[in-house]
């Protein structure tokens, strides 16, 4: 049986191998991707982005619980940076999600940026397709910890959640262009770790400029480690999924 057939039957090893091939030998993987693409229907893709250490991975671990309660299969692509000096990487996002590792309905793959700027790796958009082929009902893409300008995730995700935490700067920071423009949902995580009113007010100020086509970006407050606010976040993501309608073809920027 071919690799693609195995992937379509839910074989994790086959899916993992194809993702590696996309990363290591992108040109020779094109043939397989073409076959795969014809066999899959795009699924809802959720982008989680925000600065390092705000709790993106922990939030994803909580969201996986919600999806699994509804018996949805979840694919996760967690991106971390490669060293500009050695090309090596320490991929540590899945530490927060390891409770889901024994679950056959969850596929987590860590990816290094390998020199790609913008918060994702070059292979990410294609890997979304592989996880879709594997049977994911939803694919979650976690960007590297981003600063202001890493907006590549908007090219692969239907719904973008920008995660922030208390203590991240004044109103001028909130007025700047970049990641604060791309959020469909804003999460203020770790609300037990500091004063959030200031951040919330500043987000409220930037939000009106973000309204587009009838969607007003929501602000959700969470404490991911304790699981609080997660139901609300999950519900808001579902609302946005319905608002989006059909999931987009994940094409952009990934056609080499």
């Amino acid at each position: 049986m071919g690799l693609i057939e195995k992937i379509l039957q839910g074989d994790q090893k086959a899916a993992a191998k194809l993702i590696s091939k996309i990363e290591d030998e992108p040109t020779s993987a094109l043939e397989e991707l073409k076959v795969l693409k014809e066999r899959i229907v795009p699924v809802h893709t959720l982008g989680i982005t925000g600065p390092p250490g705000v709790g993106k991975s922990t939030l994803i671990a909580r969201l996986i619980e919600r999806y699994r309660e509804k018996n949805k299969k979840v694919g996760v692509l967690a991106i971390d940076p490669s060293s500009p000096f050695t090309g090596g990487a320490l991929l540590g996002d899945r530490i927060r999600m390891q409770m889901h590792s024994p679950d056959e309905g969850v596929f987590i793959r860590s990816m290094a940026t390998r020199g790609q700027l913008g918060g994702l790796s070059r292979a990410t958009a294609k890997a979304v397709k592989v996880l879709t082929g594997w049977g994911a009902d939803v694919v979650v893409v976690e960007t590297v910890g981003v600063g202001q300008d890493e907006v590549e995730v908007m090219r692969v995700a239907d719904t973008i959640v920008v995660v922030l935490s208390p203590g991240l700067g004044d109103d001028i920071q909130m007025m700047k262009a970049g990641i604060l423009e791309i959020g469909d949902i804003f999460v203020i995580n770790k609300i037990d770790q500091g004063e959030t009113g200031h951040l919330e007010r500043n987000l409220e100020l930037v939000r009106p400029g973000r309204e587009r086509e009838g969607w007003v970006p929501a602000i959700i407050k969470t404490i991911a480690v304790k699981g609080s606010g997660i139901d609300e976040l999950h519900q808001k993501i579902e609302e946005h999924r319905k608002y989006c309608g059909k999931p987009r073809e994940v094409e952009r920027a990934d056609e080499d």
Binding site: Q12, S83, G88, S101, P102, R114
Partner: protein, 136 residues
């Protein structure tokens, strides 16, 4: 372009001593490898599923609890069952030398004890992967 070496560093069982695992993970990162670290207190199932999903070339197990003769075989067996028989397995931690032959016979390629230089681990991985060329 040379393929990236992907390594999983894992700590099986009830053992919270992760300094050594972190030092090794960091050294392998600095040697240009992509290192996945799972954190402490992992079950065999968690480690093996991670190894498969991450498509790693080698798996480094750190154990200081004394349960290596119980945990290593469980992981090796499960890994083979899941199709990961080509994954290079090495171990480290507090492992008595008299236990090493048994671990090797079950498929653990090398045990690195206290005092090991990180360069020794890097060289071992690179040499093994170049030599058998069987990865992937």
């Amino acid at each position: 372009m040379r393929k990236k070496i992907r390594v999983l560093i894992a700590k099986p069982g009830l053992d919270g001593h992760d300094r050594g695992a972190k030092v090794v993970a960091r050294a392998l990162r600095d040697a240009g490898m992509e290192v996945i670290y799972t954190g402490i207190r992992q079950t065999a199932e968690q480690i093996v599923n991670t190894a498969i999903q991450e498509d790693v070339d080698c798996l480094g197990l750190s154990i200081l609890s004394g349960a290596h003769l119980k945990l290593f075989p469980k992981i090796v067996k499960l890994l083979k069952k899941r199709g990961g028989k080509n994954i290079l397995i090495f171990g480290g931690g507090i492992i008595p030398s008299e236990d090493i032959p048994e671990l090797k016979s079950m498929g653990v390629s090398k045990i690195f004890g206290p005092g090991t230089k990180t360069q020794g681990i890097i060289d071992f991985i690179k040499t093994q992967i170049d030599a058998d060329g069987k990865r992937r």
